[in-house]
């Protein structure tokens, strides 16, 4: 009975997605109930499975797709970190999306693929081996493509095409790496510390090449430079999609994959021995700086946020690549922290654009008085991104920096400092404009909305902003993401 639970986690959203398609465009109430119902059921499932994992009864689902090649879905501490994040943010984003897309076209299609997208994310989180991970990783590409193209404008179609080019090419490389790895080492489940070290020293060159292939496969979605340029183009998607893409689904799937690759496939020791940790860390550091510099040069709010994601997600990569208890903790916990802050920022950008037509950074002047709650949320998340103590971003950066010093990687410190300065340079002027500058006479495209609709947009935004503050403030609490991650990491570095 228990072994069906992981499958149920995936199926809840998948069935909801299919049901939404079948309901059609007009049945709005039924669709809303289905959306929210599925999200709540999923949260309950996550809670139940978490308890099972805590008492060491992690459920596992297994199905042989080919002889010796199993589809494995299971819950462990790391997958729960990601599923909890996804389940919580899915619920909040659904509320936001329902309000955001009020009266727009093709909502059945939107919410259908939205649900399938979450189902794939669940599959990625619960995947028990790299093969299963790959299957859901591909499914995620398929499910997000229609969301990026959703508006059907020329820019949207081009953005979606670019997205497909990058991700499908990436997954072709991924697949070759996967075949190679399985040929060399056989099919194996994710285990703490990897387990590839039994492979002889003769194969180390091959293991290095495979590692690079797999990093390319995952790096495309994680937007590692130079495989990042689909991400700013995918900004044409509706705000809730961008929010989900940047916080939980696509970009995070890539980052989560890198975590699995380093920790559970190769194992941190072997990665270091092969010299791959260093390579990955340099790539991540470069991405962090490059993304920040590019963000600084953008004048469109969503594009600036997109490049900020390129930079911030690489903190996760940097943490696991540097290795050691502290740095790994910093990287993994940023998976959650970045998700919360970035989703808030995109929610805000969506509200600015939908309610006032504000898309450009110059148009933010005086916005703080016009919509204080949204501006406050933006400010809080922005400050968090910069890493102002005691915000969530600070907790991540502190662990990263201290961890890097602990393993002797001093060079990480200047990278972190530079990145923080750049973050400040591209967030603080926006915050200053919102609060200090006078309100303009005329907003670009003001829309009068009913109170409820604005509420549907603002409440989720304030909620995610509040959570992002709380996880930073109460980082030492035993139920905080940080404590959970510390629990995971101590297994890798006993």
């Amino acid at each position: 009975m228990m072994e069906w639970l992981p499958l149920a986690m995936v199926m809840v959203s998948l069935i909801a997605g299919v049901a939404i398609f079948l309901l059609g465009e007009q049945r709005q109430l039924a669709r809303t109930l289905l959306n929210l119902g599925a999200a709540l059921v999923k949260l309950a499932l996550v809670a139940f499975i978490s308890m099972l994992v805590i008492v060491d009864q992690a459920p596992e689902f297994r199905l042989a797709l080919l002889p010796g090649l199993d589809l494995v879905l299971r819950a462990d501490a790391l997958s729960l970190l990601f599923t909890t994040l996804s389940a919580v943010l899915w619920l909040i984003t659904t509320v936001y999306a329902i309000a955001y897309l009020e009266r727009s076209e093709n909502r059945a299609r939107f919410f259908g693929f939205f649900s399938i997208c979450v189902a794939s994310t669940m599959g990625i989180a619960m995947a028990g081996n790299l093969f299963t991970f790959f299957i859901f990783y591909e499914l995620l590409t398929l499910a997000t493509w229609p969301l990026v193209a959703h508006s059907g404008t020329r820019a949207a179609i081009l953005g979606a095409r670019s997205y497909l080019r990058y991700t499908l090419t990436g997954s072709a490389v991924f697949l070759v790496g996967l075949i190679w790895l399985y040929g060399l080492a056989g099919s194996r489940d994710f285990i703490v510390g990897g387990g590839l070290d039994e492979i002889g020293i003769d194969e180390h060159v091959e293991l290095r090449i495979i590692f690079v292939f797999l990093v390319i496969g995952m790096g495309v979605k994680a937007a590692l430079v130079p495989m990042h340029s689909w991400l700013p183009k995918a900004m044409v998607a509706p705000a809730p999609v961008s929010a989900l893409l940047h916080a939980v689904a696509v970009v995070k799937a890539g980052a989560f994959g890198l975590v699995r690759l380093v920790e559970d496939v190769y194992g941190p020791e072997l990665v270091a021995e092969l010299g791959m940790g260093h390579l990955l860390a340099v790539a991540a550091a470069f991405t962090i700086i490059y993304g920040s510099v590019m963000a600084l040069r953008q004048t469109d709010i969503k594009r600036r946020l997109a490049f900020s994601t390129v930079s911030q997600v690489s903190y996760i990569t940097l943490g696991i690549a540097v290795g050691g208890v502290m740095a790994t903790t910093g990287g993994m916990v940023h998976l959650v922290h970045q998700g919360l802050m970035k989703i808030t920022l995109f929610f805000c950008a969506g509200i600015f654009a939908a309610v006032l037509g504000v898309k450009h950074i110059d148009q933010l002047e005086g916005l703080g008085r016009r919509m204080p709650w949204t501006a406050l949320s933006f400010t809080v998340a922005g400050l968090g991104m910069i890493g102002l103590p005691p915000m969530a971003g600070f907790v991540s950066k502190y662990h990263l920096g201290a961890g890097a010093v602990a393993v002797g990687a001093w060079w990480v410190i200047p990278v972190l400092i530079a990145s923080t300065l750049l973050n400040a340079a591209y967030f603080l002027p926006l915050i200053k404009r919102m609060w200090m500058d006078p309100e303009p006479d005329q907003w670009p495209h003001p829309v009068t909305l009913s109170r409820l609709e604005t509420g549907g947009l603002v409440v989720p935004t304030v909620l995610t902003a509040a959570i992002s503050v709380l996880v930073g403030l109460f980082a030492a609490h035993p139920l905080s993401p940080l404590s959970w991650v510390l629990g995971i990491v101590t297994e890798y570095f006993p």
Binding site: P67, R109, W145, H150, I157, L175, V176
Partner: protein, 485 residues
């Protein structure tokens, strides 16, 4: 044993008897009788499957005459898989044909007897292990296929049918010549006997080249594919599905049989590589051509040219893994391609055109047909979870095991190209900026026709979950020699 013999006979003689029987019946009843005959095929296969499963190959000497004089039917795992593919594709296709070729109308009067003949031919071919018998059944299939393309009498279709017929006849002549040479040397026609008796030499090589060339033409392997796109792209309704899903697989199956069962241990690496290179040409050329087609059915037809290329990689690899991969590819492609052509037939019939720029807005007009097409596309692109993905995985794995990096890269590039031409279609139908420029007058297809496409598409996806029984059958029927473990 009688149960087995009757089942074997049923596979061939039930459809073979239909064309005569339906002459006695009034219009509508003909269609239902033929449909019932198609439904009987899986029932005939059940006892056979049980027998092959328990590890026995089935041999039946017709009228108790044994080779070299008599005709013998063999059934091993590979043939059984192909028979199942035929039966499984035939059921939804017939369901579709009940509405697209109504039995009481002119088109239906032509379609149903031909379809039954074709089915009898296909089933008989898979049961044959005798070079001359294979020839006769292959002719039966080609002639029925050509005639089916011509149903409806559209000029383009007739022209394509003519070209198919002429090239098909040329191929037959080559094949028959080779059969003559082989019979002259060995005095046998049975594949297993020929395999034992035929000695390598100029004569044997000539025969093999002739035979392979003929079959390559019939299977439309690049660059002998020239007849296929027009024929499959212009054939009416479900006929395209039959041709692309089943008919090309038949000659490809023969190609595999003859190469591995007769010439299995002849050590012909150069020729094997050449066959693989033809496959590479097919994959690259077919995909690029599919990318620039203005009509949906032509895209699908060129996709067939490309997809058949993957099977050809079996020849240079020649391993157990490649055998599994090629067989699974035949199966998965048969299901997905039939689904695609059925969906395309519905679209063409409803909108009156299948030009891609008229298909914008299809997601609102015919969502289920488009969904079926998309599911089939997932399998063709080799994305998980689908039969096509498992076939691609097996092929990549087989290539890796022999360090055949060239083939590995080819397969990866090929699947990217297939994604390019299929996503082009899907993007046009759902997200075209100039939406609502398609025809304003259209009629939804009958729900049974839509369901037929959907069933096949779902089966193509389901093939991504249940590989074990199929792979067991393949493993039990590997060629006698000449392949890597």
């Amino acid at each position: 044993m009688t149960m087995i013999a009757e089942s074997l006979a049923g596979l061939v003689f039930i459809p073979l008897g239909m064309p005569l029987l339906v002459l006695l019946l009034p219009g509508r009843a003909r269609g239902y009788l033929c449909f019932a005959a198609v439904l009987a095929l899986p029932l005939c296969l059940l006892p056979l499957t049980q027998e092959v499963w328990s590890g026995n190959e089935i041999t039946l000497a017709l009228a108790e005459f044994h080779p070299p004089l008599g005709i013998v039917w063999y059934l091993d795992g590979l043939a059984l898989i192909m028979l199942w593919l035929t039966a499984i594709v035939a059921v939804p296709v017939s369901l579709h044909a009940l509405t697209s070729f109504p039995p009481n109308e002119e088109s239906g009067r032509g379609f149903w007897p031909l379809w039954m003949m074709l089915l009898a031919g296909i089933n008989a071919l898979f049961l044959s292990a005798d070079l001359f018998n294979l020839y006769v059944t292959l002719e039966m299939i080609t002639l029925a296929g050509v005639a089916m393309i011509g149903i409806g009498g559209k000029a383009l279709a007739l022209k394509a049918a003519m070209r198919y017929l002429l090239l098909g006849l040329l191929a037959s002549v080559l094949y028959l010549l080779a059969v003559g040479l082989i019979y002259g040397q060995t005095g046998a026609l049975d594949i297993y006997l020929v395999g034992e008796r035929l000695e390598t030499g100029h004569l044997a090589s000539t025969a093999l080249v002739l035979m392979m060339t003929g079959l390559l033409v019939k299977s439309a392997i690049f660059p002998m594919h020239v007849w296929l796109p027009a024929a499959h792209g212009n054939a009416p309704g479900p006929v395209s599905a039959i041709l692309s899903g089943l008919v090309v697989k038949v000659s490809l199956y023969m190609l595999i049989r003859i190469w591995f069962w007769i010439a299995g241990d002849w050590e012909l690496p150069a020729a094997a590589t050449a066959l693989g290179l033809l496959g590479a040409g097919a994959i690259l050329y077919g995909s690029v051509a599919a990318l620039v087609q203005p009509r949906l059915k032509m895209v699908i037809a060129y996709s067939t040219v490309a997809q058949l290329g993957y099977v050809m990689i079996l020849f240079p690899l020649a391993s157990v893994g490649a055998f599994r991969a090629a067989s699974y590819q035949l199966l998965a492609h048969g299901l997905a391609k039939a689904a695609m052509f059925l969906a395309a037939a519905n679209i063409l019939k409803s909108l009156g055109t299948d030009r891609l720029n008229a298909l914008t807005d299809l997601d609102r007009k015919m969502p289920v047909d488009l969904f079926a097409f998309t599911l089939a596309a997932v399998s063709i692109m080799g994305l998980p979870p689908s039969g096509g993905f498992l076939a691609k995985w097996l092929l990549l794995e087989a290539a890796w095991k022999q360090d055949a990096w060239g083939w590995l890269v080819l397969v990866s590039v090929g699947s990217l190209l297939s994604a390019a031409y299929l996503f082009r279609v899907i993007a046009l139908t759902c997200f075209h900026p100039g939406r609502r420029h398609g025809p304003t007058r259209w009629q939804p297809p009958p729900s049974s026709a839509t369901n037929a496409a959907l069933i096949l598409a779902l089966l193509a996806i389901a093939a991504g979950f249940t590989s074990a029984p199929v792979l067991d059958l393949i493993d039990a029927s590997l060629p006698p020699g000449g392949i890597w473990p």
